[in-house]
């Protein structure tokens, strides 16, 4: 299958006023690719996602996202906090995010598929933190996005919950093959779910290394992940600060 570029960033430069946060960043993501951005906290990963999402238009350079529907660009964004509307039920939170013209019945089928049926008519406050994250991820998938941005969506969950959600997330992604940009600071997480890992430097943000995860998805057990991580550390000693 010929690859199609889903996202192309060229000469991106962003300055908050106290020196550049992002300086001359170039980045290409192919359609259907799951790319992990790995970098120290505060390196500007969230800023980068906000620029891509169009929440902040004060930058120079080019951000091109290919969209299937020429009228509207669809971006699914799983924020670090779930950002659900507390005064709307899970079902309403999901259907409100659907773009105009998308069949609202789609959401009911989707709720079924992802196993949210039991909580669909509850308010987010009554659900666990993990469940709120899940709903927020489902919302990002439900709009059938051109590009899916995830900003550490599994951070500060307890380990078993995070593991369960990670597996569930990969399944969700495999069924639809959306283009994903996934921000994390956890190398093992990145190895487990990514096609490719971009190692980012601290501010100003640049790409230090661009490494494909050379393990087939079905073989990504804890041992394989551990040995790949060791391999990276010996192969790229310069990245040790990040790993």
């Amino acid at each position: 299958m010929a690859t199609v570029t889903a996202l192309r960033i060229q000469n991106l430069h962003k300055d908050h006023g106290r020196g550049p946060v992002i300086d001359d960043l170039n980045l290409t993501v192919e359609s259907g690719e799951f790319v992990c951005l790995l970098g120290p906290s505060g390196c500007g990963k969230t800023t980068l996602l906000q620029l891509i999402a169009g929440l902040d238009r004060d930058y120079s350079g080019d951000i091109e996202i290919s969209q299937r529907d020429p009228r509207v660009l669809r971006i699914g964004y799983a924020f670090q906090e779930p950002r659900l509307l507390p005064w709307r039920t899970v079902r309403d939170n999901l259907s409100l995010a659907l773009p105009a013209g998308m069949n609202p019945n789609k959401i009911n089928r989707f709720i079924d598929t992802v196993g949210l049926n039991e909580v669909a008519d509850q308010y987010p406050n009554t659900l666990s933190v993990g469940m709120n994250r899940r709903v927020s991820l489902v919302r990002a998938f439900a709009i059938d996005p051109d590009l899916l941005l995830m900003d550490e969506p599994l951070v500060s969950l307890d380990a078993p919950t995070a593991r369960r959600l990670r597996t569930w997330l990969v399944k969700l992604w495999e069924a639809r093959a959306h283009t994903v940009i996934f921000v994390t600071h956890d190398l093992r997480e990145a190895i487990e779910i990514g096609d490719r890992i971009l190692f980012l430097s601290a501010s100003p943000l640049e790409v230090l290394a661009d490494i494909p995860v050379a393990i087939e998805r079905k073989n990504r057990n804890p041992e394989a992940i551990e040995s790949f991580s060791t391999h990276l550390k010996t192969r790229y000693p310069s990245l040790n600060g990040l790993l």
């Binding site: 999402a53 169009g54 929440l55 509207v72 669809r74 971006i75 964004y77 924020f79 906090e81 950002r83 509307l85 507390p86 005064w87 709307r88 309403d92 409100l96 995010a97 773009p99 105009a100 308010y123 406050n125 009554t126 919302r139 709009i143």
Partner: protein, 257 residues
């Protein structure tokens, strides 16, 4: 939203206490009135008798109706205007900086002054009466709603932007639920404020309504009628609270449990 038996019992208990305290108040009143035996302090029974006569004659419903109509019109106008201005000020710091001194002045003008000025400038008519009430009430609505608009959650607004909610959906599902508690507060305190002001407005410049009637009774020292009319008004305002405000509040807050 299910009422467990314990909650039900607590409610009945509360109700009994409320009834008990009202009965005690009436009893005290009765004792003092009998003791004094003066037309200036009629007994509760006498007041209820007058209340009945005035209701049957149609006078009380007529004047109460006039006052309620003014109350509703001025309440709605000040709520709608105040909410719009409050949101604008809360979301635009520059506008807010400029107009906040105006607000401080408006908040501190005595109600009586605005009432007199409205009548002097616009004549002793219905327009001036409504305007006087609105001008008195408006600054307080603005200040309360502005507070709400200042504290809107930025993270949810960003979410709405990413998911392309558009202005209508954003207003309905993101902004309104956050502003609602502030608007309710403004409405509650507003109702209490307006019905006190409106009587003065009527007393000074109208020829019907509760304020006008109270003025007449004052001239004849007819305390029984004054108390009867007050009682009717208290009951009506409390009914509005129970049948309109409380259900609205419950409906909007149900997600909090």
């Amino acid at each position: 939203m299910t009422n467990t038996p314990a909650v039900g019992h607590a409610k009945i208990h509360q109700g009994l206490i409320a009834i008990g305290s009202i009965l005690l108040l009436a009893l005290l009143w009765q004792l003092i009135a009998v003791q004094e035996a003066s037309p200036l302090l009629p007994t509760p029974m006498r007041v209820i008798e007058v209340l009945w006569q005035e209701s049957v004659s149609g006078r009380l419903p007529h004047h109460l109706g006039m006052t309620l109509a003014r109350l509703i019109v001025s309440f709605l106008i000040s709520m709608i205007l105040g909410t719009a201005i409050g949101i604008a000020l809360g979301r635009t710091p520059r506008l807010d900086q400029f107009f906040s001194t105006w607000l401080v002045i408006a908040l501190n003008i005595p109600a009586l002054v605005t009432i007199i000025l409205c009548y002097v400038w616009f004549g002793l008519g219905e327009f001036a009466a409504i305007l006087a009430v609105v001008v008195n009430k408006l600054p307080q609505v603005i200040v309360t709603v502005r507070e709400g608009a200042r504290h809107l959650r930025q993270d949810l607004l960003e979410m709405a932007e990413v998911y392309r909610f558009g202005p209508v959906k954003t207003l309905q599902h993101v902004l309104w639920p956050q502003l609602f508690p502030y608007i309710m507060t403004a409405g509650r305190t507003g109702l209490a404020l307006i019905w006190k002001i409106i009587l003065v407005v009527e007393l000074l410049g109208r020829s019907n309504g509760m304020g006008y009637q109270l003025h007449l009774f004052f001239q004849t020292f007819d305390v029984a009628s004054i108390l009867a009319y007050s009682l009717a008004f208290i009951v009506i305002v409390q009914l509005m609270e129970w049948t309109i405000l409380v259900p609205l509040d419950l409906k909007a807050q149900r997600w909090r449990r």
